[in-house]
Symmetry: C2
Amino acid sequence: MAGAGHGARGRSGGRPTLEEVAARAGVGRGTVSRVINGSPRVSDATRAAVEAAVAELGYVPNTAARALAANRTNAIALVVPEPETRFFAEPYFSDMLRGVGAGLSDTEMQLLLTFAGSDRKRQRLAQYLAAHRVDGVLLVSVHADDPLPEMLDQLEIPAVISGPRSAGETLTSVDSDNYGGARSAVEHLMARGRRTIAHITGHLDVYGAQRRVDGYRDALRDAGREDDELLVAEGDFTEEGGRRAMARLLAHRPDLDAVFAASDVTAAGARQVLREAGRRIPDDVSLVGYDDSAIARHMDPPLTSVRQPIEEMGRAMIDLLLTEIADRRPAASRGLERRQAVLPTELVVRASS
Amino acid sequence: MAGAGHGARGRSGGRPTLEEVAARAGVGRGTVSRVINGSPRVSDATRAAVEAAVAELGYVPNTAARALAANRTNAIALVVPEPETRFFAEPYFSDMLRGVGAGLSDTEMQLLLTFAGSDRKRQRLAQYLAAHRVDGVLLVSVHADDPLPEMLDQLEIPAVISGPRSAGETLTSVDSDNYGGARSAVEHLMARGRRTIAHITGHLDVYGAQRRVDGYRDALRDAGREDDELLVAEGDFTEEGGRRAMARLLAHRPDLDAVFAASDVTAAGARQVLREAGRRIPDDVSLVGYDDSAIARHMDPPLTSVRQPIEEMGRAMIDLLLTEIADRRPAASRGLERRQAVLPTELVVRASS
DNA sequence: AGGTACTGTGGGAGCGCTCCCACAGGTGAT
DNA sequence: ATCACCTGTGGGAGCGCTCCCACAGTACCT
């Protein structure tokens, strides 16, 4: 309330304004604003006086006023275009969120968590974006046909996507080396003396899943191995998908002696089917997963897995997004300087291979 | 979608304002505001006209202006007073976040995710709160000596805590029935014919962990069983803590034939030590965990566990918080009507018991 | 001397809303 | 006729900032 709460102006609870700080420091409103925002055009003496006043009064800028006047929000949204369930089922997201949080902790930016799993939520999200409630958007796990990136582009809202949708992704993107990670997994299995290496893919409308297939294929081909279609079964990153794919693989190629799964969760499903079929891990069949999640460590036997530096990816996304926001230009310079970051993966060898 | 389609109106990128909608509808600014905010004091005809204008122009209220004028933010913060790492290590948080997201999806409220794991982050958090950047706060996983609740109280910011800090918690709280959950676990073990039932506790400065000990004790006592101090070992919810506690229990009471652990992760640690000691699960020792997390399902053998309705707890927290925000009063009526929600638990029986 | 170009500073003019007062026009009781 | 008291409406007065223009002061040229 405007005039209501003037009684409590004493210590805590009283929220000083710029004007009050200015009065206290004996300067003008503009000068305080300059100090607060780190403008260099302030003399050292004045700056010191203002900073003292700020400290004395415990001044904290009002975000809403700032956002209104400056037409920016100091907030970014992490948009998850899936139902909440999926988001948390895969540790991938948590790790990413962690990196994002870390990257943000040095800034004034606030993180908004937004789910766009249902149509209603999409609707609302569209409104938020239209209202320019955030300065930028982080997109994770976007499927190939999602209209969201298009929309962001039209609204000219800076955005960074994790996992490009295709080789020609137009948005700034951050990715891990899916291709190289898959290669290293397959090469590891070959080095272990495995002859017949199968692959359970991820959802193939996810570009990263395709790249893993490429890495798997190329690793085999470069080693002069057979590249049998029957050794590749399509999964969808889920446990159930892993089970189904594994069952198909065993039916078609009962002689397989290694499986490279596109996620740890998928590997868990595969493991179960292998067990039920009487195959021992790693004695009869080597198993390698992807993500190096907690599940990999807790599996019996512990699962060899390809670690993605997901946390660093989160950090990288923030860095790129902040850059985009900082030099937000009249959209003229777009497309020319598409930014991209690809971070390396690492094979973590455990007992399953 | 909402705003994007109507692109070519007036200045490019210029979002329509209340005033423009008013002009279009042939009414005053105040009337439009009333319609937008669902005030009943508008005639049906006027309301219809305004709504038409809003639709035509693709009007979306400016959040910052609204927040500034109304002195509220339409945002709430989920504050995690721990390092990000801990937050994501336990599925507990993810589930809760899911419930919170679900509870929020029917409202205009935005969710801010805030970590307060380091001192610097605490500092910043304090600033946010002081700046009244959010209308309310959700606190999860607060330890007994945390100053945060106190601060929120002083700032008169509505807050709901998950897991009260003590029996006399002053904040509105949501909890699951820790006592009942523990009882049902122990009663289940007794029904299975187990005679010597040990308990590995959680961090005892967490009230819920204490309540589980109470439930364990009372279940035994009510059944006329011995209540041996040597059967209770203090843990801290972690795997490593579970290992250490289990080792101690085996040393003191090698005759134990059942263990009730205060978390699944703890149970995982206990399981490892039991294995190494040559005890078979469940043949020699029954094992029951708490949380019914993914780990429980993936353990070998699958772990019997007490399920908390964490997602519903998240929902409940939101409901309570929104209520508090809605009837935010001059703090006079505080303490009198302490709200509390306690949700039931459920024992999920698997092969480990 | 005046001219030019800085640096540092004060403060007016909004940003787009909500709040609230004023007031028109209707109703019913006096 | 007066009064009281509704309902619905318009619009002024801010909310606390940022932006930007004006301008004093200083410095270094012609």
